[in-house]
């Protein structure tokens, strides 16, 4: 147990050295928010992958496959396919026409203040919810992996929170980027080694591996032994609502990934749109291989460790670490645990910087002060203060929720808001000449509101628990769910688009229509795009 703590401390020391280096190097506003726009294509690609592959993917999807077989794998497919939207539609126009945030593109031809205020609200909502989910996850992980070391849930949450604040406040985007890169390499390395060990266990024979997967032994609740084919679809997503939930999740992924603020800000860190394109391709190579390898992790855990043992030793999230222990012993278990912590830490740092950038650049400078910095460096100063405040809020809420609360719905909520509020307005402002300020405000508002309301009415919040479920694990509203799906995308995305279209059709904005040509020429050619800094 002490081993994993030691390895994690090595990671912390290395990343703090990077933060020190970055703090001395990065200068000015573009240096802080966009790492001087001098990150190369492969570096940014790895960092995008690092931002995206959270502990939910590493531990959650491996667990989902270990317990539900094929359905867990099907769940993981959408996470890569979603990057086609980022590549085709969002990455290059955003880099060409924006400065630091997605709101820059919206404010280009619409009235800046209302649009930026709403976009900033939506960005802060997505980032904060996602961050709380990650931090509760970090605390839970500590309780499971380090239960003998005396580190409590609170200490873990505060530790992760404090570190992420240090990275962002002192190192800015440059430090955050390198933390992501190191974490992504560790995560890929750990996953690859583990997959190799699983295949080694089956003598590197794919047919032996799949033979085992079709005959998974475990005991059901009554204690009877069950043999199940884990390649059989339908073990988790059962009719009537299962397939619809999966379709709804797919919609949220495919449109939401291209609207996640912490992914979008990454495209401002590269010198030009061509490099942004290259970085998406790098990210897709990494993310795709990672999710294919989770098959080996999940099926490996199901066949080698077994559902019974995992269930008795911490539950689904422990599938990958327990597999590491079974195949590689205590040292490898410690390494995989440390990688899981590093993963959480890097993701929350990425979320913190995107939230502070949006608040400082969109809300403080452009909404409150009409686009003028009152003195040089004000925007960066405000961003640093925001990082403290956002970090503090996330720590407080994570501790208040406690480790038994089910927070998976917060991730679903973050994707739903990104897909229903952010992406419709990004798309319409880039492709619809007639689009207006009111359309953007209504679109952001209706997407944000409908996602939150539908999540509150979904089985994640509204479920009647059995009397044996006590404390924070109980659902918040003890009532049969009004909305039957866990993922609201299938309804909230059309509502987001509907708000944007109705708002637009209710009036005309000649200035926005006139500026449309300018925006599209810039977005497609890169004329007048922000240049990288010289130092």
């Amino acid at each position: 147990m002490a081993n994993s703590l030691l390895m994690f401390l090595v990671f912390v020391v290395i990343t703090l050295c990077i933060t020190y280096w970055a703090a001395r190097r990065s200068q000015g506003t573009a240096g802080f928010f966009a790492a001087g726009r001098r990150i190369t294509g492969w570096q940014n690609g790895i960092a995008v992958a690092g931002d995206y592959m959270s502990a939910a993917s590493f531990l959650g999807i491996a667990g989902l496959i270990a317990f539900n077989g094929y359905d867990g794998f099907m769940y993981s497919v959408g996470w890569l396919v979603a990057y086609l939207t980022v590549l085709f539609v969002v990455a290059e126009p955003l880099r060409n026409a924006g400065k630091y945030t997605m709101a820059d593109v919206l404010a280009y031809r619409l009235k800046p203040r209302p649009v930026r205020a709403m976009a900033s609200l939506s960005t802060l909502t997505v980032s904060t919810f996602y961050m709380i989910a990650q931090m509760v996850g970090a605390g839970t992980l500590v309780a499971l992996l380090l239960k003998d070391s005396g580190i409590s849930f609170q200490t873990a949450v505060i530790g992760v929170g404090a570190l992420m604040i240090v990275y962002v406040v002192f190192g800015g985007m440059l430090a955050t980027t390198w933390v992501q890169i190191i974490k992504a390499i560790l995560l890929m390395g750990g996953t690859f080694a583990l997959s190799l060990m699983v295949m080694g266990h089956f003598g590197f024979s794919l047919s032996a591996f799949f033979d085992a997967v079709t005959q998974v032994h475990f005991h059901d609740k009554t204690g009877a032994e069950v043999v199940q084919n884990f390649l059989q679809p339908g073990l988790k997503y059962k009719p009537p609502y299962g397939p619809w939930d999966l379709i709804s999740l797919g919609m949220a992924l495919i449109l939401g990934t291209a609207g996640l603020p912490h992914i979008l800000v990454r495209f401002y860190t590269v010198p030009d749109a061509k490099t942004a394109r290259v970085s998406v391709v790098w990210a897709m190579a990494l993310i795709g291989s990672f999710y294919i390898m989770t098959t080996f992790l999940g099926f490996g855990a199901a066949t080698i460790v077994g559902k019974d043992f995992i269930g008795a030793n911490g539950g689904t999230n422990m599938s990958a670490p327990l597999l590491a222990k079974a195949l590689g012993g205590d040292i490898f278990f410690a390494f995989i645990s440390a990688v899981a912590f590093a993963t959480i830490l890097a993701v929350v740092a990425g979320l913190t910087i995107s939230a502070s950038t949006s608040f400082a650049h969109d809300f403080w400078t452009n909404v409150v002060h009409h686009g003028k910095e009152r003195k040089p460096g004000e925007e960066v100063f405000v961003a640093r203060v925001t990082a403290f405040v956002v970090g503090g809020i996330a720590i407080t809420i994570a501790i208040a929720l406690g480790q038994t609360t089910n927070v998976a719905f917060l991730v679903a909520l973050a994707f739903a808001v990104a897909a229903s509020a952010n992406l419709p307005v990004i798309l319409l402002s880039l492709f619809w000449r007639r689009f207006t300020t009111r359309g953007a405000v209504w679109g952001l508002g209706s997407g944000l509101l409908s996602s939150m309301v539908l999540i509150a009415l979904s089985p994640s919040i509204m479920t009647v628990d059995a009397d044996t479920v006590v404390g924070a694990a109980r659902h918040m509203i003890q009532h049969a769910p009004i909305f039957p799906l866990e993922n609201p995308g299938i309804l909230s995305i059309p509502l987001g688009f509907l708000g944007a279209v109705l708002g637009t059709l209710s009036g005309r904005e000649p200035e926005a229509e006139r500026m449309f040509t300018e925006l599209t020429v810039r977005a497609n050619t890169g004329l007048g795009a922000e240049k990288p800094s010289n130092h």
Binding site: Y70, F73, M74, V77, G78, L80, V81, Y83, L84, T85, L87, F88, V89, E92, S207, F210, D211, V213, T214, L231, Q232, P233, G234, Y237, P239, G242, P243, W244, L246, I247, G250, I254, K274, R277, V278, V280, V281, M284, A285, G288, Y291, I292, T517, E518, T520, V521, N524, T525, G526, L527, G528
Partner: protein, 146 residues
């Protein structure tokens, strides 16, 4: 660069070349700010003229010709997976390769579909970069060289 002539200080209002009160350097570059008309000053790039150039129109046309079919294809291909698995589970459970069934292979093929489409897009986009370059060059020439 700003070399001041001390003996004329206070009298000469064009103390160095290129100052705001200097006259336009004929044929050697864009007009200085004070010589521009209000309209020229307001919008230094003639965006609507650029949008009308054949190079730009060709760029957009080719981009749309790739992106629209590619998006339609990947959306249909991706949503076919949950729809087929959800509503025709027995068909998808058919073993194809040893014990590996259609559902697994179809899900796995999604990864390769995404990679191949991304590769095709990069090939097209790299060619389009040259077109975008031409659009920018026509803008530079119009401004009167450097």
């Amino acid at each position: 660069m700003a070399k001041k002539n001390n003996s004329f200080r206070g009298k000469d209002y064009t103390p160095f070349s290129g100052s705001p009160t200097d006259v336009a350097r004929l044929g050697r570059g864009p007009k200085p700010g004070h010589e521009q008309t209000a309209f020229e000053d307001k919008d230094p790039v003639d965006w609507s003229r650029l949008a009308q150039t054949s190079a730009y129109k060709d760029l957009i046309h080719r981009k749309i010709r790739f992106i629209v079919p590619a998006c339609v294809f990947f959306i249909i291909y991706y949503f076919a997976l949950p729809i087929l698995v959800g509503f025709a589970p027995q068909l998808m459970a058919t073993p194809v390769w040893g014990k590996v069934n259609l559902a697994y292979l179809f899900a796995l093929s999604q990864f390769f579909m995404a990679w191949i489409l991304a590769g095709l897009y990069v090939a097209v986009a790299n060619r389009l970069d040259k077109r975008a370059r031409e659009v920018l060059d026509s803008h530079q020439n119009r401004k009167g060289g450097k």
